[in-house]
Amino acid sequence: MKNWTKHTLITRWVAPALLAAGGLGSAHAADGDANADVECPIKVGVLHSLSGTMAISESTLKDTALMLIKQQNEKGGLLGCDLEPVVVDPASDWPLFAEKARQLLAQEKVDVVFGTWTSVSRKSVLPVFEELNGLLFYPVQYEGEESSRNIVYTGAAPNQQAIPAVNYLMNQVGIERWVLLGTDYVYPRTTNKILEQYLKDQGVADSDIMVNYTPFGHSDWQSIVSRVKAFGSMGKPTAVVSTINGDANVPFYKELANQQISAADIPVVAFSVGEQELSGIDTDPLLGHLAAWNYFQSIDTPANERFIENWHDYTGDDDRVTNDPMEATYIGFNLWVKAVKKAGTTDVDTVIDTLPGLKVDNLTGGTAELLPNHHITKPVYIGEITDNGQFSVVWETDEEVPGDAWSDFLPESAKLKADWVDLDCGHYNTETEECSGQMSDMAEDEE
């Protein structure tokens, strides 16, 4: 904690110096006094799809954000101001995400945005956030390989989800043969690349790894499941590591059940199937299959209990489940609130400088600390699907795992590191010792 503030100060000397040197009047009072810089109400953008294919996942996060805002307002708001949510619908349309992000930042002049789910939507808004110097909290597990000054990643990086899950299967279940099934897009591709490398490092032979990709919304899993079954019947314990996305999961699990592959035969560990996805599946045939997350609704802590209760009150539906991206939204929101309180302003630059090093409680009894690479520390849980559509935790990491923006298992990526405190760079090349590419960040700081 102390360290961070020291670093923050070092990086922050630029702004005051500029002020002093040129009296460049209009520059924001980066460290200025609180009230001068806050315009009431404080606007909070919510950028989640409410229609289209992603609505199924994202609309819940919109509700979560609105609930958190409401609660904050009931507690008296922030810096004496009420928070005002600005909700827009990017309609699962990626260019529309960029447009809506621009609208939030340029027209609505929001102070912070909570939003996006898919990698492509994040990639679509990233240039906008960097250009207009906004602040986005991104709440979903993703493939890593990114760290932007203007984005805070509160979901899991691959080392906070995929690798621990594989470790569990390897060491605790004794899996020797691996099927990596994924939807054909960047998250599964990258995750599987990382896992393949990791497995090979652990001495798994090439012939014991099967990789298969399917298109989005793939619904006919007969042949693939049958091949998995054959692959898994060669005498070695086999598991499926699934990065299958959204809609394709239900038919996949249904086909597993149809071909009577139980979790005891070939367990499936999924990274995109949580409580909410389960609520759309008949879980009876899925008992015992696994998911790796940083949060489960079933984890029994007072904080989580309260959160679930609030959620049920807010939605008026006692059957609504909670899930990992909701917790990530919760953590992100609290981090932002804490940073704003500490900085005494909602000014984006100040908040970004204040954020690293802040710690907030997560819902599972630990703490989430925002690291200099704009990722957070997270505990990893492996849960088995139970018959009430929940997960029972079968394994967890001893302590929180720090999120790694650049994977150590991809040759090019291993050289990079992100550090927004000391290095002020999202992709610092440790071999050449310089911040590769991306002049826009530099340009911004000079302004």
Binding site: W94, L96, A106, E145, S436
Partner: protein, 374 residues
């Protein structure tokens, strides 16, 4: 009022009041918006924000796509439900150029390979990426790739006289196949994430105000040129032939016109226009991704034309603007109900405004004129 192909070309092309108004308004818009953005203070009521510039710029490219669709649907009766395929291909060609422009400023600092290839362990640049760093070459591809696809696809379809709904449906198949193909990461187009995080174009930073306004003007000029080309075609005798094909294909054939060539020609021209629209679109929205190929997107584009009024060209452009404006506005103002509004709009337009907004306007004008004398 029918246009006639006598007299000077310009009179012929702009002889129609609607087209004339459209061209004037378009030129005014192309000039005024950047000026209002740059020179008027933010406090001014007439100031146009960056956001609005980007937004209208996007509408302009959509309008060009709509003009391209109207050219074949409104004048030749060819309903393509896969026209965003050409739009997308043009967009990808431009995206590839922009990607190559990043050079070694990507996060991995690789001077040749785009980032998404680096972390997926690609060793060489695929052959079709070569040359895309040269602007003129890339721009040629913007036109040639969609044109070539249209030529091959159209050649196959028109030669064997695939028409009407059959044609509409195989164009859906075409764009659907392209979408699936571009989603594949092995294709080397960035898969689902597509191409994004562009830095600059022709050395100018994309996020700079000047560049944005220049792109806006380019879109305006692009639409204007596209519109004029389309007008030139439809007011020529060729336009008559196209309409003849639309109304009585078989009769046209017996009159000695090789219908398949005409269709193929206009289809290819239209595809090229759509490609240009896509190329102008990409740098302004900052991303190109396979969802541009989605069959639904193509249907939506056809809907713009229907809403605006088919067979007038400017109506198509108007429709594209109107529907997209409605979408922008509703997704912001009424996020929960906008699909209802859009759905009802489509139904209402087809039921009550068979000739679209343009038809409504001329109907009103006729009614006014009828009142005047009395």
């Amino acid at each position: 009022m029918r246009h006639s192909n006598h007299g000077p070309v310009l009179t012929r092309m702009l002889g129609d009041t609607g087209s004339l108004i459209f061209v004037v308004v378009l030129i005014a818009l192309t000039v005024a918006v950047p000026l209002c953005n740059v020179y008027l203070p933010e406090a001014s009521a007439l100031h146009v924000t960056d956001y609005t510039v980007a937004l209208i710029g996007k509408y302009l490219t959509y309008a060009l796509l709509a003009v391209a669709i109207d050219l074949i649907w409104g004048y030749c009766g060819i309903l393509s439900l896969g026209h965003t395929a050409f739009f997308g291909l043009g967009g990808y060609a431009m995206g590839m150029y922009l990607m190559r422009q990043i050079g070694d400023r990507g996060v991995y600092g690789n001077p040749v390979l785009p980032d998404f290839m680096v972390f997926l362990d690609w060793e060489h640049l695929p052959w079709y990426w070569h040359g895309m760093d040269i602007f003129p070459f890339a721009m040629a591809m913007v036109v040639l790739v969609p044109g070539l696809l249209a030529l091959v696809f159209g050649g196959l379809a028109f030669r064997s006289r695939v028409t009407g709904v059959y044609f509409a449906i195989i164009t859906q198949a075409m764009t659907y196949a392209l979408m699936l193909a571009f989603f594949r990461n092995e294709m080397g187009f960035g898969g689902n994430n597509g191409l994004t995080d562009f830095k600059d174009i022709l050395g100018y930073e994309l996020s700079a105000d000047g560049t944005r306004n220049a792109l806006f003007v380019a879109s305006g000029v692009g639409l204007l040129l596209g519109f004029l080309i389309a007008r030139f075609i439809v007011t020529s005798r060729l336009g008559r032939v196209l309409e003849a094909i639309r109304d009585a294909e078989s009769r046209t054939r017996f009159t000695g016109y090789r219908v398949a060539y005409y269709k193929l020609w206009i289809f290819t021209v239209s595809a090229m226009l759509a490609g240009v629209a896509g190329a102008l679109y990409v740098p302004q929205v900052g991303i190109i991704n396979p969802s541009e190929f989605s069959p639904i997107a193509s249907i939506e584009a056809v809907v713009w034309v229907a809403v605006g009024g088919r067979g007038t060209l400017y109506g198509a452009a108007l429709g594209a603007g109107a529907v997209n404006f409605a979408k922008t506005w509703l997704t912001g103002a009424y996020p929960e109900i906008w699909p209802y509004a859009l759905g009802i709009l489509f139904v209402a337009v087809t039921l009550f405004l068979p000739k679209g907004i343009v038809g409504l306007v001329s109907q009103l004008r006729r009614r006014m004129r009828r009142k005047e004398p009395s």
